[in-house]
Symmetry: C2
Subunit: 215 residues, 2 copies
């Protein structure tokens, strides 16, 4: 029994600096071009310049590394969404403001999927369950996960009187489904090879439909 009951403190100095971090970073790079399947322990250690089994000091499993990569991917998405919101010009009209924020979230989501298809696939590969939807490791710099950002804007729509309160419950899943579906069809589905302007038009139509339909 040692005096301090705070559990094992992480060692302050590692020979590699921060191997855990480096492996996750390598994993993200692998996911970037190849999705989660491409996140392979041996390749990650190879990239970091370390023996394959060194990974087991920091992850119990290959699965544990995958989970970390998924969480990072979702966090990256959250950051992209936050940035889009931050870039918005403030409007006097509160209702117009809320609408613009809603639109911005959808646009950021769709852009992220197309710019980082590998990370996007990893983020929603099915490794992360609902119980983790609010976990801080999935959050962006402001501390909100993608789903939480969406919920906040939906609450805002209710607050400014656009969305009737009785239609608020579950709305996040309906909105999310629509945008997520388009993202999926765009990067992995039959819409893959459409010209950019056709894609932009479909995106506009979808966000339009969502805005009209959830009310």
């Amino acid at each position: 029994m040692c005096a301090a009951g705070t559990g094992p403190q992480p060692r302050s100095t590692y020979r590699h600096g921060d191997l855990r971090r480096a492996l996750i970073e390598a994993g993200i790079e692998l996911a970037r071009d190849g999705g989660l399947d491409a996140v392979v322990l041996r390749e990650a250690t190879r990239r970091v310049g370390v023996a394959p089994n060194a990974a087991y000091r920091h992850f119990t499993d290959r699965r544990a590394l995958l989970l970390a990569v998924c969480a990072e991917a979702q966090a990256a998405l959250a950051v992209a969404m936050e940035n889009e919101l931050a870039g918005l010009a403030r409007r006097a009209d509160r209702a117009a403001n809320a609408r613009a924020r809603m639109h911005a979230l959808g646009a950021a989501y769709l852009r992220f999927a197309q710019v980082e298809p590998g990370l996007y696939r990893a983020a929603f590969s099915g490794l992360l369950g609902m119980e983790l939807a609010d976990h801080p490791t999935l959050a962006g710099t402001a501390g909100y996960t993608p789903l939480q950002l969406l919920c906040a804007v939906l609450d805002e729509l209710v607050a400014v009187g656009i969305l009737p309160a009785e239609r608020r419950a579950g709305a996040e899943f309906v909105v999310w489904s629509s945008v997520h579906g388009l993202a999926t069809l765009l990067i992995d589905g039959p819409l893959r090879d459409l010209p950019a302007e056709a894609i932009a038009e479909i995106e506009r139509r979808l966000l339009d439909m969502v805005e009209k339909g959830i009310i």
Copy 2:
């Protein structure tokens, strides 16, 4: 030079009966529980009871088998959609009829994804591109692919005056995205562990939103 210019006729008798068919069937079974990644040449041949390399008489590649399995999965989806349409009671009101058919397609799509998640994943794994969206191998018993079935019902909505003609173009992608997104979130995403009634409610809300939003 032989007299007939019709190219090589497929042999009428195979020792195995129809090994090509049997391998596809085995591949479907593998995809059923495990998605496309689980469709593995060696395992398929093992299940059929044949040497691993026998597959190369019928498929140039593992990829060729995967493509065949994907096509079959889409065809199965088409059949499920057709069946739902066939089960519909005819209504006197043409507009109500068209609406009901639209709803039926969405419901069938969502049910298929949940009953056969493995096949569903395979169908939309990204192996099949847009150029194949109308290919007969993806079609159900009536000869229509899932996308064609959706387009037909959208045309019907225009014909009965529910959907303005100028909003028809591209509507199939918007509708498809929404339903596809929900299906994905339900089977691989964070909505996976929701109780059945919550799922049903979200499905209702989504189909509702689509109906209202595309007009």
